[in-house]
Structures are given as structure tokens and as C-alpha cells.
Symmetry: C5
Subunit: 299 residues, 5 copies
């Protein structure tokens, strides 16, 4: 993700990075070159202009379809962000709630915290299709367990399973009853739900027919536009076509960029930063000297 | 579902499959042929043109109605996807949470996992109206039970009932208390809720009046369009009508294609693939040698 | 509700039923007759045309308001459908979850199932303002209890109360603990929540000012339209006015038809069919011979 | 709230009440008088017309902003209605669920029901800023308790506190365990959540900048409109300006009317009626003769 | 936040504060000055006009994108308000529910209430990046605990941890069972969820590409507009450009102002006032004389 301050208006106008120029430049250029050809033929060979009536009529539907598509993508972007926000919340809640019961067993609590920090790293890696990563705290976990988890069919599920086992261990050691175990396990369940939500967004693009129909309509519209402009615009048809093509192809490309926000692109979510935030929040709770933080409520 | 990479822009332009060409070709052709007739009569028999004012005025409402309808359908598509994502999540959660308590009884846990994998297959078959299918793991279940479930009035409900029975059996064997049983059963309850949601989408199309009014308005609009274009477009009326008809009938058809996303069409959800993912995730948890996976938390 | 196949495009074009023709015919005809008068006066008495500028400017707001209103109504339709889908789910869940605990007491379980099937019938009757109906299974319940429920101030609440009593009876007979009773009662609570949601939709139409302002604006727009068209359209003003009036009044009427989807109209929800589905699902669980279904999990 | 039947189309056209005429009449008249001045100057003093191009270009944004604002207000109206629907549901659920456990203690159950009916009345009064009202059943409660609640810093919270105390009393008298108490108290918690939601809507209008920018843009648009119409409309500019101003100011006013739906205006929610419904539903459950309703499930 | 009465229409027209004039004045002025130059060159040097066709065609997409962006920002504003409404609700619920169980231990209950009032103050400070603030009640808490919390890595989490410890202390002192503790702790969990939601909104602006493409398109549109108007508007091009630029840049600026509503700007949420409301509600529950409020339910 690119950090920016929305209150600074003119600062980013020259940015190439994150502004999709590289992505749409060929489409827009093809359209502009075509408009050069149309103007040249119209002026020097034979007239080939049409009235802009059809572009006016079809433009409304096309604009609506285009902007709705981009907003559906934004909804996916925002839902993805919400899911990761949920991952932040549940790791915090699990750490806080378990800390109260496990204060006397720094080793068990430490292991739980470390596996909990591993979950977001494993999830990010799974969503990005990169090799299994368990984050910086994994080095403090038993290597054979880490290796077993790394080799699992679904790494984040294996981490979650490990967390459930530790919560079960806490009950068996008598720190809480079965009921508390299940409540704490609810947080693990939510983590899996949120990851499942991310996988859903990642694996399901817009329906094929929607994407294709919109693109075909865009191409029909933009490439026939010079014919509708050439008679009154003359050579100004070329910059005019550029503006429309840049606007329309750009809106479409925004939709593509953000509909799967879990990649490494400039407009994707900052998963590393979120993972690091979780890791820092939880590391602050780690008992430094082997004992849980002392609590002395003085009511 | 057609797999595609939304970042590849030009790759799919020639696709017939999934692009609704077959569905809308007759409507669009009828409209184009009609426009040929209109132009011919106008040029050679007697003028029959009108001004495009009405098409401009009515076009806004029609476009809005059309695009809103398509987006309502997309919302149904996405809701259907969410429901199946929920089915993935709950099967995972049930398997993980039950695994902690049933680690000592590989037979019971195995039966639960196998019935759990049967649920999505049975649901997909029920939604598609095909004959009862319980997936590849059903072969490892007692044949008489499988036969009884296959013959039930509502197969997925019968599978869920079987799962509830197994959870009850776990309590009766003393692996957990009534409270844990109910918590685990919540996952079964959610599975039934999600399936109910899918049945709701499947059985309830857009209101009849909405669908019909939109189509009648579309036909009125597209078939009167040549009259409004013929005077200034001449023979160019024919491709112009084609573009508008292709755009409008196409948007309407997208709405039809995705409003019930549980079928076998090109734009429907990949239910088989989701079922297979669930089956793989759960099979990985199956105790291979009759014993549940060993756990040794080393805190 | 009218059953239809959205993939069949031309089949329903001649339908009068469900297509709102009867509802809007007088409005549209009034507008068309008025346009005949306008054209006649304009051509034979004195010119009375205006430019269409204002219709273009106001048309955008009006179209947006119109289509948004219809979509708000569709949201209510769909929310109503979801609530009834929730009623289906919770009756299924209650039957399934209670069945596990009440397997040994076919009489109690049978009574619970029968009262559960009565709930949707009672709810549908309450929403429609018809006389209390408890469905076909009510005949198998004690007549004095049925009579008492039928005479209650709020019949579905009385049915729910009866269900809660039976769940309490189950606990008193020792089939489960207080905790299980409350969990099962959650399903009853959800049934009441869903019914309350339906009552909310039923009793709260669109805000009065919204409805009235839209209709006044529609009438101003449609009845002034012939003035804006007559100069360039001549007698074609009459069909042109017809098309616009048909489109606009039709969209408004869709909104009216579906904003309260619990009636008996062609575009309302098929409540009887949903009730019958529930009744069939639950009847399949009724112990035929006085004994609950045998279960033999063979893990 | 004004009761009306949306299926009666022409019945309400003459209504002044609830139709915002009083609210917008001065704005619209100012605009119309200004247009009279513009036409007079243009025709008799010196031409002062402009082309309508800018009104066409700016009109789209303005219309979108206007209609979106009104729909955001409608969403708040509908959310407010949902929250009160939730209050209906939870009072019913509390009464039903508590009734099962408190059947033997008519005095305690009666007090709980009476305090429960007081909650919606107290909430409505708090939202409307009127003096504390506890509804008709408050007369049957101990006067000193009623006086204490009336004098509290936040009356509905004090009522809820009283309800929680009664539920605690029920546990102390041994009618149910701590667990049941907490489950019943969940309904009280939901009542507080719903009231909090209403307070949120009541206290947070649309952002100031949104409201002000829209109104400034509306005034700029409507007061410059006569200049754009006068050349081709002549004196017809006056009714044309009237229509646009009436439409636009009216849409804006709908947004204002319904964004805080808890007042006593014609378009606000019928809080009294909802309170009365709750009171009637719960009074029907009051043990008439000091004993709770007898239950004899005959399974 | 600026307090205003939406029913007073003309009162705020002269406001500079909160009306974004300061924010957009340079952009709008640049555009106006440019239009002066265009008109001067066109009239006195050489014609440089174009037709407005392209502005009409592109204006629809641009307007849609602009208004959708502003509405997405409004959704964030409203979601932020909902989250703080949730914080109000949960602090109330925790105070009410805990009060029932802790009535006998005024010291413990007082400490819990005071820490609970500290949570919203700490959250507001964290969202605004200001130095840790625990509100007016923090002075009544043990200074060393306050200092420790102020120095924590994440102050609101540390407050929540303190609240969990006090709830645990209540259980250890025997006022309630583990089950009740967990239920009360759910409210703390919700507080953390709501804070996490606020952090999500605060840290995630609109996608960079969306913001930048919209601004570039706005600049292209507004700065080319004088060319499209100059031929028919003459010097009236200057005020016309002003109106469009003011409208468009203003809508964009609204989106920027309200997308992160947790700051100290005129259009941000009144966090201080919400914190004070919570503090007052909870202070009213503080046992004045060291004993919890007496309760004497007289059923």
C-alpha cells in the first residue's frame, strides 16, 4: 500500500507508482492512435463521421456499469480490510482473555502468544501463494512443531489447530473449566472464519460475463468515439479521445486492482504492517522474565 | 465457473463460452434485422423518423433500472458465495474443535469427518436438483446408513441429523459434557442456516413484475431506437442499433445468469471445487492409522 | 407468487397477471388522453409547445428518485424473504436439535414438532390479517389447547409460548439440563425475532412525504411532457407519451407492489408454499410408530 | 406518522399535512419570484440569458448528491424502525422466556412485565426530550421506585437497571441458576443496545459540510436556472422554474424530515403506537388472578 | 463537530467554519483564473473553443465516481459513529450487569467503573495520536497503575486488560462464577472490537489509485471546461466555471473531510462529548457513600 495524506491535494499528481499508468497505457495509446487514423482519413481521404447520439444514449448505461463495478471492487477491498481488522481484534482478545487465566504458567501462555502471532503471517503467506511463513516469533517455538505445521496441507489451519491444542492443555492443567476453554476457542474459530472470508474474496473474481461484457462495451464505445467527435472536433478529436479513454479505462482498472486486495501491488492492503502490529501488540504481553505480568487490583 | 486472470485484458475478447453470446444472439439479431427494415423503408418508401428526445429522457430511467437489476443479481451471486464460504468455515471449525475432544476415539472422529464432508456434496446436489450425492468419502461409511440418508425427504438435513447423532454419541461416551456438545452442534446449525440461505436464493427469482416490466421497456426502447436514429445515421443506424441492443440485452442477461449462481453454467459458482477443497482439508485431519494426531504442546 | 423461468425471455410478454397492467392502466390512459388533447389543440387551435430543457434537467433527479424507491422496495421484499428463510432454518434446527434429546419420548417430541409447524401458519395468517390458522398438523393437537391459542391476543406469540412450555417440560422430565433448554429456546426466540421483522415491514410503508413527493413529481413530469414533445413529434407525441408514462408509472408501481410482500398478490412471497415446505420437512421427522427414529452410529 | 394505503394513488394528492408544503413554500416562492424578475428584466430591460450547458453538466452531480442524501436519510429512518422493532422483539422474548421460569411467582413476574412495558415509554420520552414517562402500567408499580427512576440521570437506563435487579431477585429466590439469569439479562442488554442506536441517530445529523455544500449548490443551481431558460421559455420560465425548485427543494426536505425519525412530526415513526403494542402484548401475559397461566402439555 | 439544526435552512449559508471554503479556495481560484485567461485569449488573440460533447459524455462517469466516493466516505463516517455508539452501549451494559453482582463491594465496583470510563478517553487519544489521556476519573485510581497503563505499548489495550483483571478479581472474591466472569468480559471484548474497527478506518484511506484517478480526472475536466464554454458563454464562462469547480471540488473535499472522522476538525465526530456522556452515565452509578445502590424489588 502507498501511504498518503488525503489532505495534500497536488502532491501525488506526478506519481507513476500506484496510479495505474503502466497498466492502462497500451489500451489508451491504442485508442489514441486509432483516433489519429480516423481524423486523418476523415480530413484527407473521405468523411467518416457519425452523430454522437448513440454515445450519449449508451454512455449512461456504460458509465453506471463501470462505476458500479468499481464500487463492487471497493466493497471487496473494504471487506478484506474488515476481515484483517477482525484478525487483529481476535488475536488481541485471545491474548487478553487467556492472560487472565494463564497468568501462573508463563511457558504455556508464551507458547500460545507465539502461535497466535504466527497465524496472521501464515494467513498472509497462504493468500499470496508464497512459501509458508510463521513470522519472527516462530524461532522461539519448538522446531519440530514448526516444521510439522509448515508441511501441513493448509498451514494457517494447522496453526489454529496448534492454538486449540494449547487451550486444551490449559484446561487439562486445571487453569480453567471446559466452558472457559470453549469461550477462548471461539476466538480461534473467528480467526478461521476471517481467513475463510479472505480466501473467498481471493478466489472469486467478478463473474466472467460481467467483466467481459463491460470490457467489450468499453472497447466498442471508446474506439467508435472518434467517429462521433471528428466532424466538430477536427484534430482536437485526438486529445478528446485520450481524455475519455484515460478516464474510462482507468476506472475499469481501479476495479481490477482492488478486487483482490491481498497481493503485493501498490494498491493492495498492507498485510505485512498489520502482521507486525499484531506481533508488537502481543509481544508486549509476553512475560519477559518467565512470569506473567503482576496484577494488583486495588479497588 | 470460468477461471480467468482479471489482469489479462485482451485475452478473453474472443471467448464465446461464458460471454452470453449464445443467449442474447436472437434478441440482438431480431433488433438488428428490424433496424435494417426501418432504414430501408425510411430511405426508399417513406420517411418514418422521430426525434431522439424520448429516448434520451426514458434512457436514464431504463439504464438505472437495468444496472440496478444487474447489481441486485450480483449481490445474490456474492451472497451465495458467502454462504458457501460459511460452509467451508464451519466444516473446518467443526473438524478442528471436535478433534480436540475426540482425539482418543479415531473411529468416532473419522465417522464425524466423513459425514461432514458429505454435507457440502449433498447440498450442492440438492441445489442443482440432481440425484443425491454424498461425495467420495461416503464409500467409507456404513452402506445402510448411507442408503437411508440418500432416501430421506431432504438429504442434507438427514446428513446434518447424522452429524448431530455422532456428537451426541461423543457425549454419551463421556468425551465431553452436554455444554460442549451444544457448542459443537452450533456449527451444524450454521451449516443448515447457510444451506437454507442458498435454497432461498435458488427458489426466489427477482419479482415477476420487475423482470417483466424491465424486459418490456427494453424491447420498446431498442425496437423504437432505429426510428430515432435513421434520419441522421442513415445505414449507420444498423450498427448503431446493434451496439445499443448488444449492450442493453447483455446487461440484462448478466443479471439473469448470476441471480441463481448454483447451477452448472459458465458463470455459476464452482461448487464442485469448493466441495473438493472441504474434502481435502478434512481428509488431511483423518487419523491415518486409526489413531488421532498426536499432540505434544511444549510450552 | 408467479413461478417463472428467467431464462425464458419472450414467454411472459403477453401476461396480464402479475404485470401491473391493471394497476397502472388508468393513470397511463389519463396521460395518453391528455396528450391527445394537447396535440389537437396545438395543431388546430393555437401552438402550446415548450422546449424539453426542463424535462431533461428534472428527469435525472426524478429517475434517480424513482429507481431508488423501487430498489428500497426490493430491499424490503428481499429482507422479508430472508426473514421467512430464517423461519425455515430455525424450525429445522429446533426439530433436529431437540430430536437428539427427546428421542426417547415420542409423545413430547411429536407435540413439539406439531406446534413448531403451527408457527409459520399462524405467522402468515397474522401478517395477512386473516383468521387464525395453525396448519394441517393442528388437528393432531389437543383441541382445548388449540382453541386457547386461537383466541389469544397475538396468536403466533401464543404458539411460541406453547413451544417454550414443551421445552420446559422436557427439562422437567429430565431429558436435558437448564442449559440445553435455553439453547433450544434460542431457536424459539429467533422465530419471534423474524416474525417481528415481518411485522415491521408490513406496518411501515415508505415515509409519506417520500411517496407523495415522488407521485406529484411524476404527474407534473408526465402531464407536461406532451407540451415538450408536440412541436417536433406531432401526432407521434401520443405514443411517445405512452411509452414514458408506461415506463415511469410502471417503475413506481413495482415499488408499491413489493414493498409489503406478505399479501396474496401475484408479486408477493409464496408464504403458503414456505409453510408447506416446513410442514413436510418436520413431518418427515415425526416418529411414525410412536418411537423416535433409531440411531446407530457405527464409527 | 400518517397512515396511508400505498395502493390508493390519487387519494393523497391534495394533502398539505405531511407533504412538506409548509416547509419548502418560502424557498420555492423566493425562487419563483426571482424568476419573474429575471424574465421581466430580460424581456423589457436588457437580455440576460445564458446557455443551459452548465446546468446540464452540473445537474448530474447535484441530482446524484441530492438523491443519495435522501437515501442516506431513508436508511437512518429504516434503521430507526429496525431498532424499535428490536425493542418490540426483546420485550416479547424477555416476557416469554421469563414466564416459563417465574410461573410460580406472579408478583415477581408481574413486576418484571410492568417494568418491561415502562422501558419503551421511557425511551421514547428520552429521545423526544419530553418529561419522563413510564407508560400506563407504571401506576401499578411501587410509587417510591417509580419516583426514583423518574429522577435518574438517564431514565431508560434506570428502568433497565430495575429489570436486571428483578432478574437477580428471581435467581436469589431460587427459580433459576446464574446461567439462566445471564441469558435473560441478554434481552435487557439488547434493549440498551437498541436505545443506544436510536440516540446515535438522534444526535448525529448528516455531516455539516455535506448539508451546507448541497444547499449552497441547490441555491446556486435553482436561482441561476431562470437565466438559462428565459431565452427559449419566455414567461414559461416561471412555471418551469417552479417545477424544478419544487422537485429539488422537496427532495432535500424529505432528507431533513426523515433523518431523525423519533420526533412528533407527520413523517416520524409512530413511537406511541409501538409502545402501546408492546404494552398490550405484555399485559395479555399478566397473570390476572395472581397466578401465572397454567400449562398442561399433553404430548 | 458543528452543532446545527437541519430544519433551519438559511442560517448557515454564511458559515466559513466547517464549510470547506478554506480547503478548496486555491483549487477553485486556480481554475477561475485559468478560465479568465482562456476567455481573454479566445476573444482577443485567437479562438480556442471546443464543443461540450466530451464534457457531457465524460461528465456522467466523473459525477458517478465523485458522488460514490463521497458516499463511501459517508459510510465510513457513519460506521465510525456506530462503533462509538457501540462503545457507549457496552460501557453501559458492563456497568449495569456488573453492578448487580458487585453491589456488595463498592470499592471493587468503583474501580471497575473508573477504569471503564478511562477506556473511551484512552481510545480517543490513541485515534488522534495525542498523548495518553484517561479522563477525569483517572485521578481517583491508584497513581502507579495509571502510570503503568499510560506507559503501555497500546494504552486502550492496557486499560482493557486492567478491566479484565478486575472482573477476574470479582470472581476470586466469590461474587460470581467463572461463567459470569466470561459473560461480563464479553463486553470488554466488544470494546476492543469497536476500537479495532476505529483503527481500521483511521489507518486505511481510500485506495491510492481511486483517489488519484478521480483527482486527475477532476482537474482535466474542470480546466478544459472553459474551452467548451467560451464560445457561447463569453465572459460568463468565468462564473460558470466557478460554479462547476466549486461544486465538484467541494464534493471531493467532503469525501476527504469525513473519511477519517476521528480528528479534531469541524466535520469530525464529537469524541469528547461522547466520552463525557459515558463518564456521566457511569458516574451516576458510582456508590456515593462507599455502598452500592440499595435495591428492594417489591414484586
Amino acid at each position: 500500500m502507498i501511504d498518503y495524506d488525503p489532505h495534500r491535494w497536488w502532491t501525488y499528481f506526478h506519481y507513476l507508482r500506484g496510479s495505474m499508468i503502466k497498466e492502462i497505457v497500451y489500451r489508451v495509446m491504442a485508442c489514441v492512435l486509432w483516433s489519429v487514423g480516423v481524423v486523418a482519413v476523415h480530413l484527407h481521404v473521405r468523411p467518416m463521421d457519425i452523430q454522437p447520439t448513440v454515445h450519449t444514449l449508451a454512455g449512461i448505461s456504460l458509465s453506471l456499469l463501470l462505476v458500479f463495478r468499481t464500487n463492487s471492487s471497493y466493497d471487496r477491498f473494504w471487506e478484506g480490510r474488515k476481515l484483517w481488522g477482525g484478525i487483529v481484534n481476535e488475536t488481541r482478545n485471545l491474548a487478553r482473555a487467556a492472560g487472565v487465566f494463564l497468568r501462573g504458567d508463563a511457558a504455556l501462555y508464551g507458547a500460545l502468544l507465539r502461535w497466535t502471532t504466527a497465524f496472521p503471517y501464515a494467513s498472509a503467506a497462504a493468500l499470496r501463494g508464497s512459501s509458508a511463513d510463521l513470522g519472527p516469533r516462530a524461532a522461539e517455538l519448538p522446531p519440530e512443531q514448526v516444521a510439522q505445521v509448515r508441511g501441513a496441507q493448509h498451514v494457517p489451519l494447522a496453526v489454529a489447530r496448534r492454538m486449540s491444542e494449547l487451550l486444551d492443555e490449559g484446561r487439562r492443567r486445571g487453569y480453567y473449566a471446559e466452558y472457559v476453554q470453549l469461550q477462548l476457542d471461539q476466538n480461534v474459530q473467528l480467526l478461521i472464519d476471517y481467513l475463510g472470508g479472505c480466501e473467498r474474496i481471493h478466489k472469486t473474481p467478478m463473474p466472467f460475463a460481467y467483466m467481459l461484457h463491460l470490457r467489450r462495451a468499453l472497447v466498442l464505445y471508446c474506439f467508435s468515439l472518434p467517429l462521433a467527435l471528428v466532424d466538430v472536433f477536427g484534430w482536437a478529436t485526438v486529445p478528446a479521445t485520450f481524455v475519455v479513454a484515460y478516464l474510462f479505462f482507468g476506472i475499469e482498472e481501479i476495479g481490477v486492482e482492488i478486487e483482490d486486495p491481498f497481493g503485493n501491488d501498490d494498491n493492495d492492503l498492507p498485510l505485512e504492517r498489520i502482521c507486525d502490529t499484531i506481533q508488537k501488540n502481543l509481544t508486549a504481553l509476553l512475560p519477559a522474565d518467565g512470569s506473567a505480568p503482576q496484577v494488583s487490583p486495588t479497588p
